[in-house]
Amino acid sequence: MSAVPPENPQGPPVLEMHDVSKSFPGVKALDRVSFHCRRGEVRALVGENGAGKSTLIKILSGVYQADEGTILLGAKEVHFAHPVESLAAGISVIYQEFSLLPDRTVADNIFLGREPVRRGMLDRARMWRETQESLSLFGADHGIDPGSVISELGVAQQQMVEIAKAVSLEARVVVMDEPTAALDENECEVLFGIIERLKARGTAVIYITHRMREVDRLADAVTVLKDGRVAAEFDHVPEASLIINAMVGRELRDFYPPAAGAEEIGEAILTVRGGGNDKLFSIDLELKAGEIAGFAGIQGAGRTALGRALFGIEPFTRGAMILEGKEVRFQSPRDAIRAGLTLVPGDRKAEGLLLMQSVTDNGMVSARAFARLLAGHGGSGRLSAQRMEELFGQMEVRAADYRQEIQFLSGGNQQKVVVARWLSLAPKVLIFIEPTRGVDVNAKAGIYNLMRELARGGAAIMMISSDLPEVLGVSDRILVMREGRIVAEHRRGVGEATVMADATGHTEAAA
């Protein structure tokens, strides 16, 4: 991969933020942060969760107002009281959670809030035409119809719509907040291509990410935030370790935990023979005790569907599932959990957290749901709030108070609580979907270690992730899926190129 882009434009910055500070009750979120970005430049903004990236972006877009400091756009001082004003000034932010309306069409969404009007009526013809123009950025075969309803599009296509919206706004500055979080490798490449094109048009791109590889691949310059301050600033892309050091303030060796020794991997706990449903076909699979099995594949390859099938959310309609020698059939997550399976969902907010409940209640929910089952184990399996809180301590869940509502915790800590939920049930199989999405670097290592610990304890781990280095770094065995089938299996140490080739079915992807 090419490390440095061919040219590094040195024009005056299109955007400058000087000494911006922002405090919330009890927290100084930003402390005299200065930041700039040039025309046609991709500036990576990196930092752990809670370092102040989101706050900075929200100030830039007018969601928050800075307590101190100035913002200059094209050398003119600006004040944004509302996102609308920043939009009008040419700043477009693509948030992590899409702000698309699921029941409206692509054209409706692209022109959301600024629909063209002719003689008092919506000018649909123009909306249609301009939508197609904006979409043309993605080449000829993007497959998005201006009239399709958003909920019928895939995640990557939805992201394209978000970008098309920014393009149609003729934004001078485009901010992307972890745009690849929901994308697979192939789609990432498409996205990167689009970013290159934006660059070529002279747009300044602020790119927020946790993934060093993307910084390497895309960025022209890097700003590192830590604890609300600028920890480092580079007008080029330095070595990843330098960035990481600046982010965490220490060197991160042993980022990935060691692999399992041959003696640690035991018998198959869960076996699937010829499993299939609407989205999956002839799945043959063994998940073994003590082993982390990583699942790679592009979006829509069926990895999540497989996790959901195993967990009884959308069960297999064909084939057989054998758990510890006995054939099982799960019709609901509850069946699966009772048999010893667990699942850490990918969309934490929508599927993992009980936002209004306390940290402790979030951790205890599964134990409570299976109180009778646990009591049946001779009482030893019972979980008290005190034991739960001790467990949080061991897992280094950081919270001011475990009785505080979980919505106020950081992503990494929230994820740990979701994992902790399962531990009291002594699960035999743990399915992790995107376990480190929205989790900062430091906490990532913690979660990898946790997975390894669980495997050492004799559990079978299934990890589904779109972060390929993560899959390759953590897993003992890598399975690649494509179009609802498992198409390849590799040992640890396989190269990214090989896996990508299997995932896409094209050998040229390896180039």
């Binding site: 609901s332 509850r334 929508a350 993992g352 209004m356 299976f370 109180a371 009482g379 008290s384 709030a385």
Partner: protein
């Protein structure tokens, strides 16, 4: 059983943070105002009558809070009360010996109503507002069909005992209405179930985020349906008390569904689920009754009472939202 020990530590932990719901202050202020207008209120007969009158609403609201915390509404409780009173009078037919099995039958009916509500919401996925609205219309129609439009029988004293009788000649408090004992038992039971058991936390979980709850293994349908069942059973209880207090009529219970929701809201419950407390809801029910009593003593005409009720309803929620917005995160 396990839940008791399990949550004991949580109890201790929570006690460390005293946080009094403002509704208690409102209630206290109202009671002081009532005493100012009517000094007799401090006599046992005064406040006991007050509590006796509040008992059906308090019980009903304590059941409604289960449905609200689980993320729904139950509008069918008012007509469940009607059906209980009408049904009991029809079945009893002035025969005191039948009291027990009729009460049992009424609870069975409540169970059936709650199950239907819950299953319609869970399986047919009808929004609870509409499902229980339909149930409300259906049940009041059934009550009228059954009775032919007017009450057909009396409730014997053995049935009316719970809502009407007092234990007299007690030291200190002099009289103690039976309905107050019923209230105390029901409230303790429901408070314990909501705040001291696993089930109660699961109700919160389901109301907070049903998808997450299902993936965490919470039996969504069972929890939801049981919340509706609890609500219906409290409606039957309220019906037995109301029928006991005042006898049979075809419009007993009318409007109680909105009063119960109002009481829950005054107690700071979060509509659409996830937050709510039984004790604060009881305080809300007492507050609502105290407002009516006070307005009665002040001698304001009925229309003004409606205006005041409306204003209080809006301000209670507006105040709660204001506090939530300005809470330190």
């Amino acid at each position: 059983m396990s839940s008791e020990t399990q949550d004991l530590n949580a109890v201790r932990a929570r006690r460390r943070l005293p946080r009094i719901n403002p509704i208690w202050f409102v209630l206290a202020a109202l009671i002081v105002a009532i005493i100012v207008y009517n000094p007799n209120f401090v006599q046992p007969v005064g406040y006991m009558n007050f509590l006796k009158r509040a008992a059906p609403l308090a019980i009903l609201a304590a059941g409604q809070i289960y449905v609200i915390v689980s993320g729904g509404f139950d509008l069918s409780v008012g007509s469940t009360i009607t059906l209980t009173v009408i049904g009991s009078s029809m079945l009893l037919n002035n025969n005191p010996d039948a009291t027990w099995w009729v009460i049992l039958l009424m609870y069975a009916m409540g169970l059936a109503i709650g199950l239907t509500n819950g299953l319609v919401v869970s399986i047919l996925k009808v929004p609870s507002l509409i499902a229980t609205l339909g149930m409300m219309i259906t049940l009041s129609g059934l009550a009228l069909m059954w009775s032919g439009g007017a009450p057909r029988g009396y409730l014997p004293e053995s049935f009316r005992y719970f809502g009407r009788a007092n234990i007299t000649d007690l030291p200190l408090i002099n009289i103690l209405p039976i309905s107050l004992i019923v209230l105390a038992v029901v409230v303790c039971l429901l408070w314990w179930l909501m705040h001291r058991t696993n089930y109660g936390r699961l109700v919160h979980a389901v109301g907070d985020n049903p998808r997450a709850a299902v993936l965490a293994g919470v039996p969504l349908m069972r929890v939801r349906v049981s919340a509706f069942v609890i609500s219906s059973l409290t409606a039957v209880t309220a019906g037995i008390l109301l029928g006991g207090f005042a006898g049979v009529s075809t419009d007993v219970g009318r409007g109680f569904e909105l009063q119960a929701i109002t009481a829950a809201v005054l107690g700071g419950a979060q509509l659409l689920g996830g937050r709510g407390s039984v004790s604060a809801t009881i305080a809300g029910a007492l507050t609502l009754t105290a407002i009516f009593t006070l307005l009665n003593f002040v001698g304001l005409p009925q229309p003004v009472r409606e205006v005041v009720q409306g204003l209080i309803l809006i301000s209670a929620v507006a105040y709660a939202m204001y506090r939530r917005r300005h809470a330190v995160h």
